[in-house]
């Protein structure tokens, strides 16, 4: 009989824990009336359209940015990586509201400079917002994949006469496909589960129906609809599973010098993305702040946010490592790893309520920090697993064998051979979970210890009440804290490349 891979010992219980909330959803949905009127198909089509367009848009923005910040002498690239990842810490509803308030007749832009701008709404508006606040998923995952790419292949292709642009498209991108796909899945699942953006943009998606039911105390119906939404989640996961590439030996990192013009254009492009995703909401809320003044903001909120996000990020990476190894060990491990993605596609308030029911079974843990962190880990595990897996798949066991053969202990082999190869994936995983926890709201509201306030809960308080100006301060704090955290993480990213 074949021996059970070691990583399964950790992967199976994690998969069980991740599936528990979904089991609770099934239990909650029992007895729900499944008839939802005649609009289900229209709403499902809307949801699919928004998801598809958001994925395409995010890839189109993120992949070029990932290439220039990873593989070229792009000036200030570390700072740019931190800035370009920051939109992940901004709740998309803030961005949606800022765009809604800034553009269109009578919007802030028109009333300030008299320039009429088109109204941002509908499918276009929702897609724009989703792209701006999810592209960092693809950006960070693609960067991690590019860092593990062997530049010798590109050089070989160019020696054989392929121009650089063609080499990028035909040689580099297909090899980064794992990372791009891992990021794209997260964009798709985030879009499927987001409520506020389509709502603000006046676009009817599945989550809107779920929220309406939830707020009308129709928990059974909300759970049932969430399970229906899961079929779309499974569809996305099946699609991604088809994008697999061969494992390759790691090698020298690709490094391209930029000409002055390309450098300037790239800087401008990065600037425009940052300006739209981060500058615009800060500007709009800053305007409102000037009108209303600051009330009741405390630095403690920022500390709480960073504290919870750090714990969750570290925990998620620790749990993700065995899962990522299990995924390469066999189909059971692969299923365990896939299972972690399911919960990410379900609206936060529904999964949060399922976790409340779960937490109530453990009254000692209910409304404690420990349960909140566990909830974050369960919810954001796919963010970590995807990035870690993209890099663990690159670790060639023959290299470890060679190190051991040369007299290295297992610990030394891990530290000096495996770790440097998976480090970019771990950094990306930590960053993704950290940023996502910073902006997480529904589960935080439901599960946090009583009295524990974060930047996101403070933002919710002022936003819900219509005091948008006061959102400027926590939004700025979110960006500062995330930017700093990212810079720290990136400095830990070892530049193992031998540049030629």
């Amino acid at each position: 009989m074949k021996r059970l891979p070691l990583s399964y010992v950790a992967a199976l219980p994690v998969a069980a824990a991740v599936l528990a909330p979904i089991g609770i959803l099934i239990w909650m949905s029992i007895g729900a009336d499944p008839t939802l009127g005649g609009r289900t198909w229209e709403v499902a089509a809307n949801t699919l359209a928004l998801t598809t367009l958001s994925v395409i848009g995010a890839i189109m923005i993120a992949v070029p940015l990932a290439v220039i910040t990873t593989c070229t002498d792009f000036a200030f690239s570390r700072v740019w990586v931190a800035l370009l990842a920051a939109p992940l810490a901004i709740p998309s509803y803030l961005g949606a509201f800022a765009l809604f308030a800034a553009f269109g007749g009578g919007g802030e832009i028109e009333s300030l400079i008299g320039l009429p701008t088109p109204r941002v709404h509908g499918l276009f508006g929702a897609t724009l917002v989703m792209v701006l606040y999810t592209y960092p998923f693809v950006f960070l995952a693609t960067r991690a994949a590019l860092q593990s790419l062997d530049a010798n292949v590109v050089d070989a292709a160019r020696t054989l006469g392929l121009p650089l642009s063609a080499a990028l498209i035909r040689i580099v991108l297909p090899r980064a496909a794992n990372g791009i796909a891992a990021g794209a899945v997260l964009v798709a699942l985030y879009t499927l589960s987001d409520f506020a953006t389509p709502e603000i943009m006046g676009f009817n998606t599945y989550t809107r129906m779920i929220y309406v039911e939830y707020n009308a105390f129709g928990l059974d119906r909300a759970a049932l609809m969430s399970l229906q939404l899961l079929t779309l989640v499974v569809l996305v996961l099946l699609l991604e599973a088809r994008i697999r590439i061969r494992r390759e030996r790691p090698g020298r990192v690709l490094w391209l010098p930029l000409s002055g013009v390309v450098q300037a254009i790239s800087q401008m492009a990065a600037g425009v993305v940052f300006l739209f995703a981060v500058g615009l909401p800060l500007f709009v809320f800053g305007l409102w702040l000037a009108r209303e003044g600051v009330v009741g903001f405390e630095v403690e909120y920022a500390i709480n946010s960073a504290y919870a996000a750090t714990l969750a990020a570290l925990g998620a990476v620790l749990v993700a490592l065995p899962l990522a190894y299990a995924a390469s060990a066999g189909w059971v491990g692969r299923l365990c790893e896939r299972a972690t993605y399911l919960g990410f596609g379900i609206p936060g308030i529904v999964i949060g309520t399922a976790l409340v029911y779960l937490g109530l079974q453990l009254p000692l843990l209910y409304q404690t920090m420990a349960l909140l962190i566990m909830a974050y880990i369960l919810r954001y595990l796919p963010l970590a697993v995807g990035s870690v897996r993209a890099s663990t798949e690159r670790v060639d066991s023959s290299l470890i064998g060679a190190a051991r053969g040369l007299g290295a202990s297992p610990a030394e082999a891990f530290r000096r051979v495996s770790l440097p190869m998976i480090a970019p994936g771990i950094v990306a995983a930590t960053a993704l979970v950290f940023l996502e926890v910073m902006r997480e709201l529904p589960a935080t509201l439901l599960l946090r210890p009583t009295g524990f306030d974060t930047l996101a809960t403070y933002l919710w308080r002022v936003y819900e009440a219509g005091y948008l100006g006061q959102g400027a301060v926590p939004a700025l704090a979110l960006i500062l804290v995330s930017g700093l955290a990212l810079l720290i993480m990136l400095s830990g990213e070892t530049r193992r490349a031998v540049r030629s």
């Binding site: 939802l36 009127g37 609009r39 809604f100 308030a101 269109g104 007749g105 009578g106 919007g107 506020a196 709502e199 603000i200 943009m201 006046g202 809107r208 129906m209 929220y211 309406v212 039911e213 939830y214 707020n215 009308a216 105390f217 129709g218 928990l219 409102w288 009108r291 209303e292 009330v295 009741g296 308030i349 949060g352 309520t353 409340v356 029911y357 109530l360 079974q361 009254p363 209910y366 409304q367 529904p442 509201l445 439901l446 009583t450 009295g451 809960t457 308080r461 002022v462 819900e464 009440a465 219509g466 005091y467 100006g469 006061q470």
Partner: protein, 343 residues
């Protein structure tokens, strides 16, 4: 902030809300609105579930109460009212009890929790201080939210606006609404209770033809001010708050007469156990200081007589007679809204 009101203004304002003669109202006020100075000191542990927070305004109240009562060990848990109601229902099912008191911004959340049978009745001496039209056995009304018709005076004049909510279905005005928003659904529920399902269905169908949907009612009010629509349906305070930040915003408030369009919904408190501290905390929320703060800063309508309503409300508030607890019955409303493709 604007200057404080004087007795005449109080009397005038009270005349709008009740039918009492002005002078009697003032006498009544002296009897009913107690100062926080006269209330018992609070001490000991108390956990409050607070639905929403009005951007920190409710926190200021909580802080002021804590400052007055240094021995009070107060824990506040904030989340959307519906989420807390769902949490309280889950806790009740699991036999776990963490909160002494639920302070919700809408009556339907209170009704949903109360229907689980885990609440305690409001003591008679407390409910006696609340306006008679808003006295309920199961929960105590704290502050009112009025349904209004915000309109853009550059696009239409006040007399073009129908006086009755049902007539909006037969106009060609461009209307903004927020069907997914809880307060709107409560309003449609009130219409269903007052006018019946058939007339509500006709109304939804009629208005939907000329309506544009927004995410929330702040969005509706902003759209009215920007001239995207002629008028909208929204809770009163969104207009007042928008004008606080932007005094020259082109939006005014109109009211309908004695129908669902002028519903006064209420925030309120549900007592979840026999902790006497919870009742005393509730007394503070009904004190003159807290009530006038809510009116002044949050633009909410006080529920205790003798406290001036917020500035900026038009005269002639005639709310319909609806049992607010019944607004928790949202499912038939959602069915109607789906059937008419409003949701």
């Amino acid at each position: 902030m604007t200057s404080r009101r004087h007795i005449l203004k109080i009397a005038a304002a009270l005349g709008l809300l009740g039918s009492m003669p002005a002078l009697a109202a003032i006498e009544e006020a002296a009897k009913q609105a107690r100062s926080a100075d006269d209330l018992p000191k609070l001490s000991g542990p108390l956990t409050v579930y607070l639905g929403r927070g009005e951007g920190g305004l409710y926190d200021d109240i909580v802080k002021a109460i804590e400052k007055r009562n240094p021995d009070l060990d107060l824990q506040v848990r904030r989340a959307p009212s519906a989420a807390l109601a769902n949490t309280l229902i889950a806790e009740a099912k699991a036999g776990v009890s963490r909160a002494d008191l639920f302070w919700s911004i809408d009556a339907s959340s209170l009704g949903a929790v109360a229907s689980q049978g885990n609440s305690r009745p409001v003591p008679k001496d407390v409910s006696a201080r609340i306006r008679p039209a808003f006295r309920y056995d199961q929960w105590a009304a704290i502050s009112g939210r009025l349904r209004t018709v915000p309109f853009n005076p550059d696009r239409i004049s006040r007399d073009q606006i129908p006086a009755h909510i049902m007539d909006f279905a037969h106009t060609d005005l461009k209307i903004g609404w927020a069907p997914a928003y809880g307060a709107f659904q409560s309003f449609v529920t009130a219409m269903r209770l007052l006018e019946g399902e058939d007339r509500t269905r006709e109304w939804l169908t009629g208005v939907a033809r000329q309506a544009r949907s927004y995410a929330g009612e702040l969005g509706v009010v902003m759209a009215v001010a920007r001239g995207e629509v002629d008028l909208g349906f929204a809770n009163h305070y969104y207009t007042l708050r928008l004008k606080q930040g932007k005094p020259d915003a082109t939006v005014d408030i109109a009211l309908t007469n004695n129908d669902a369009g002028s519903l006064v919904n209420s925030s309120g408190v549900l007592l979840l156990n026999d902790n006497p501290l919870a009742v005393d905390f509730l007394r503070y929320l009904l004190s003159r200081e807290v009530q006038s703060y809510l009116a002044r800063e949050a633009y909410e309508i006080p529920m205790v007589s003798g406290v001036a309503p917020p500035d900026g409300l038009p005269p002639g508030i005639h709310p319909p007679d609806v049992d607010l607890t019944r607004l928790a019955d949202l499912q038939p409303t959602l069915d109607l809204m789906r059937e008419t493709r409003v949701l």
